[in-house]
């Protein structure tokens, strides 16, 4: 049984055809799979292996290197809070702590701690599905996440692609 939907399977084949070596398509296909399914499941990796002519172990090895690929189920909103130096001294850890408590039982939201996301000028900063939000306080951060939850803000995909955009 195919993991990819018919439309995505066609798209996957098109992506594979772009590269001289099919193996090169592992990362874009992993994004595609994650966008379709919300996370990168073993079934997805098996089909990517099949499409790129490598073993599932090699797809697993490649994808597990990158933190943006979620190998376990996660919420549709991934909130990445920076706690690296600039954010550390401006209140990043407090934001992280607040959001972790606030959304601990919310299946829609996955809060994670990340290293520097290159937004020191706007510290403390966080990303929601890789969209930047800067100069935050714990309350402001919660407002942002809630805005996404309500639909007031349109989220990117879990892989960070704009809805309808290219993988």
């Amino acid at each position: 049984m195919s993991f990819f939907t018919d439309a995505n399977l066609a798209r996957a084949r098109e992506i594979v055809a772009r590269y001289p070596s099919p193996k090169s398509a592992i990362l874009p296909l992993a994004h595609l799979a994650q966008d379709q399914h919300g996370w990168l499941s073993p079934e997805a990796m098996e089909q990517i292996a099949e499409l790129t002519g490598v073993t599932p172990a090699q797809v697993f090895g490649t994808c597990s290197f990158y933190t943006m690929f979620k190998l376990r189920p996660c919420g549709r909103l991934v909130v990445s809070v920076c706690t690296n130096v600039s954010c550390l001294v401006t209140g990043g850890p407090e934001i992280l702590d607040h959001l972790e408590r606030r959304y601990a039982l919310d299946p829609d939201v996955t809060v994670e701690e990340v290293e520097c996301i290159a937004a020191c000028g706007g510290a403390p900063a966080m990303q929601v599905n890789y969209e930047f939000h800067e100069r935050l306080t714990p309350e402001l951060a919660e407002d942002v996440v809630d805005a996404y939850k309500r639909g007031a803000l349109a989220p990117r995909t879990v892989s960070g692609a704009r809805a309808g955009g290219a993988a």
Binding site: P42, P56, Q58, G61
Partner: protein, 745 residues
């Protein structure tokens, strides 16, 4: 494997180069000056080792690798002596299974990538890979897909720490307690070189040894882990005799007397044609030779076949121009007719894959159903089962070989037992008929020592040394006292004759026709139709259970001797443990039976058998025990065509091999022991210059049971068939009869 520079232990100083490049990934250039032991380099090595050890647990006392661990050795030789790391080490669950056989202790892994590189580059089934990043980097299999490679055991052997573990060996022994003997694996007919290790008279491990012309140090898992059966509970350890319908344990003299008595009786009443011998591909060349001599020289029957109707006719295997495995590397083209090498002769698959993938030799996959080689084949030409290879494919392969230069190697075996051998034989013939191409055949018969058995004459119409009954008649009549009058039956024919009641004694030399013969019904009728079955076996197989006399024989690991692989390479196998029970070597059983039938083989040690073969079997002339022992890579028969390939061991290496004083499989450990530049003595050990043991190779007494069908001894001294060198000592004064001990010496 290609160098990758993972561990960084070989950082060196190169004049004019900034920094410290790793030696393993830096090609040598003209005039390059490399310094390996400067203060700076030593400081770097200490630093690298300190890092390697940061997360490495200190569980050496319970680690399988402790005592033979390259990381330990490196630490001793180049380490800083103490660590500044006082923090908590990384922790993982220990160990986790990667497959049923392989366990992984991730705490010990130093991420050298040997295992993942082996799986990808050598075996071609990368079912393990690095997962995650940073200090969480670990080798893992994919969740749903265990590391079930046919070659997974090699990763355990090349793991430089105790991260990859073999389930069957875990906690079994300490390396320094193991006794080692260099030997060859006889699970299939490739005969990979290995080191068999035992502890307390039990075989616990087989390691691959690098034999350049054969296995490059690798073993398949079937060979590596298929060793427990030697000590299996259901080994038959004592001779048995059917008394009142039941097999009862008896003494060796009783069992041998019963077998010989029945043979004598049948010879008297029905002649030698009523006696047949099946099997013999399991043992050593010496076993096969002694049984051939017993069957053909003493009993006088030619109804002898070491194949179970599942191989190729002996004429084909012995008659074609043989390829060596190394010929694949330099071939103009390789044609594979069957079977799937990865299934039947696994390490040959590694060599073929390497030739096709890494060396660019065009490979023609002409197996009926395809298999493991298809992804590497330049041309896939599926043939209809039962049909030979098409003329167009033969022509294309020939043209390819001509254009590229080099021999055309045809890998020929039976794709399946459902297919008659004709298709394979006709395909070989089609290639053999080609002009202007050097066609060589690599027989892919799989049974352990089937090629040795065929060469020793365990096939209808043949005598030892690749000679036909007619060609060798005079020569062997003089040496053995007689040979069968005419060509006998093959396995099919023997079973058919048995089913019709024309075979009165059937000897099963490790043969299990009920299980192995393609026509199981015929085999059943045959065993029902034979009044007397002698089984020489280690296990009570379904067929052997039908025996009237059961003679337990020694098996691999318990016997010394030589074996011949699919390219005709003769190598020594070594006895590492004492035989189970009172099991006897096959050759000794044959010798005992011959004695009871009135012929004294006068063979006291296995070396004497080897030397007799070297003296009488034309193709094996000169391949004495002493020569085979000294030849590092074994010797390829016939010797006169392959003299230049013989590499004689230096004294140091010879000691290494004979006494297991060292370990040659691990480059780091062997580095100090192996003397550099062992002389490649081309032609040095020419057979004519070697001194043979003065053992008369002649039957001293005429068998009492001579059959009337024998050819009378030629009056004029016969000429030796197809042989060019070697002198055979004639019988000296008869030695006093040696009292035979029943236990193997």
């Amino acid at each position: 494997m290609k160098p990758v520079g993972m561990c960084r232990m070989c950082l060196v100083e190169v004049e004019g180069v900034r920094g410290f490049p790793p030696a393993c990934t830096t090609p040598v250039t003209d005039g390059m000056v490399v310094r390996t032991r400067t203060d700076a380099v030593e400081k770097i090595q200490e630093g690298v080792l300190e890092f390697l050890l940061i997360n490495h647990p200190l569980d050496c006392p319970v680690c399988d690798r402790g005592g033979e661990c390259p990381l330990q050795d490196q630490t001793l030789a180049f380490g800083p002596g103490e660590s500044r790391f006082v923090e908590e080490k990384r922790h993982y669950e220990k160990p986790i299974p990667l497959s049923n056989m392989i366990l992984l202790d991730r705490e010990r892994c130093i991420q050298c990538a040997r295992c993942t590189r082996f799986a990808e580059e050598i075996a071609g089934d990368p079912l393990i890979d690095f997962v995650s990043r940073g200090d969480r980097t670990q080798v893992l299999n994919f969740a749903e897909q265990p590391f079930e490679s046919y070659f997974s055991g090699n990763t355990v052997q090349i793991c430089p720490v105790g991260a990859l573990l073999a389930r069957h060996y875990r906690f079994k022994a300490r390396p320094w307690d193991l006794a080692t003997a260099e030997t060859s694996c006889t699970t299939c007919s490739v005969h990979c070189r290995g080191a068999v290790q035992s502890s307390s008279n039990r075989i616990v491990r087989l390691l691959g040894v690098d034999l350049d012309p054969v296995n490059h140090g690798w073993l398949c898992d079937k060979g590596r882990y298929g060793i427990d059966w030697v000590h299996a509970d259901d080994r038959v350890r004592e001779p048995h005799l059917r008394v009142g319908g039941e097999l009862r344990e008896v003494s060796w003299p009783e069992a041998l007397d019963a077998a010989a008595g029945e043979i004598r009786k049948v010879l008297r009443m029905h002649g030698p044609g009523a006696i047949a011998v099946l099997g013999g591909a399991r043992g050593t060349n010496e076993d096969a030779y002694a049984w051939a001599r017993l069957a053909k020289g003493v009993i006088g029957t030619d109804h002898v076949d070491c194949q179970m109707g599942d191989g190729l006719p002996a004429e084909v295997v012995l008659g074609v121009r043989r390829a060596e495995i190394d010929d694949c590397d330099r071939a103009g083209a390789i044609v594979v007719l069957g079977p799937d090498p990865r299934e039947e002769v696994p390490v040959l698959f590694l060599r073929l894959r390497r030739a096709a993938k890494d060396l660019g030799v065009p490979l023609f996959d002409c197996t009926p159903v395809g298999g493991s080689l298809a992804p590497y084949a330049a041309h896939v030409a599926r043939r209809v089962p039962g049909e030979p290879v098409g003329a167009d494919v033969v022509e294309l392969a020939a043209r390819t070989a001509r254009e590229r230069g080099g021999p055309l190697v045809v890998v020929a075996g039976r794709p399946s037992v459902a297919e008659a051998p004709d298709a394979t034989v006709r395909s070989i013939a089609a290639f053999g008929a080609l002009d202007g191409v050097d066609v060589r055949v690599l027989s892919a018969l799989r049974r352990g020592n089937v090629h040795g058995a065929l060469e020793m004459g365990l096939a209808p119409g043949f005598l030892p040394g690749r000679v036909t009954l007619d060609a060798g008649r005079e020569w062997f009549t003089q040496r053995w006292g007689g040979v069968p009058a005419g060509r006998g039956l093959d396995a099919d024919g023997i079973l058919r004759a048995a089913a019709e009641g024309r075979v009165h004694v059937l000897v099963l030399l490790g043969a299990d026709p009920l299980l192995d013969h393609p026509d199981a019904l015929l085999a059943r009728r045959a065993l029902e139709g034979v009044p007397f079955v002698v089984a020489v076996d280690a296990f009570r197989s379904e067929s052997a259970a039908r025996a009237d006399v059961f003679l337990p024989c020694t098996v691999w690991g318990e016997q010394n001797g030589t074996v011949t692989n699919l390219e005709g390479r003769v190598q020594r196998v070594a006895r590492r443990v004492a035989p189970e029970g009172t099991a006897m070597d096959d050759w000794r059983i044959a010798s005992e039976l011959a004695y009871r039938l009135g012929a004294d083989f006068d063979l006291a040690t296995v070396d004497e058998v080897t030397d007799e073969i070297a003296a009488v079997a034309p193709a094996a002339l000169g391949a004495t025990a002493a020569l085979v022992r000294r030849a590092r890579d074994g010797v390829v028969l016939p010797l006169r065509e392959h003299l230049g390939e013989i590499v004689v061991r230096t004294r140091g290496l010879s000691i290494l091999a004979e006494e297991g004083a060292g370990t040659s499989w691990d480059p780091i450990r062997a580095g100090g022991a192996a003397p550099a530049g062992a002389p490649a003595a081309s032609g040095e050990p020419a057979p004519r210059t070697r001194r043979r043991r003065p053992v008369p190779a002649r039957t001293r007494r005429r068998p009492r049971t001579r059959s009337s069908t024998r050819t009378p001894r030629a009056s004029a001294p016969p000429t030796r068939p197809r042989c060019t060198s070697g002198t055979v000592r004639q019988a000296g004064p008869p030695r006093p009869r040696v009292t035979r001990t029943l236990c193997a010496s």
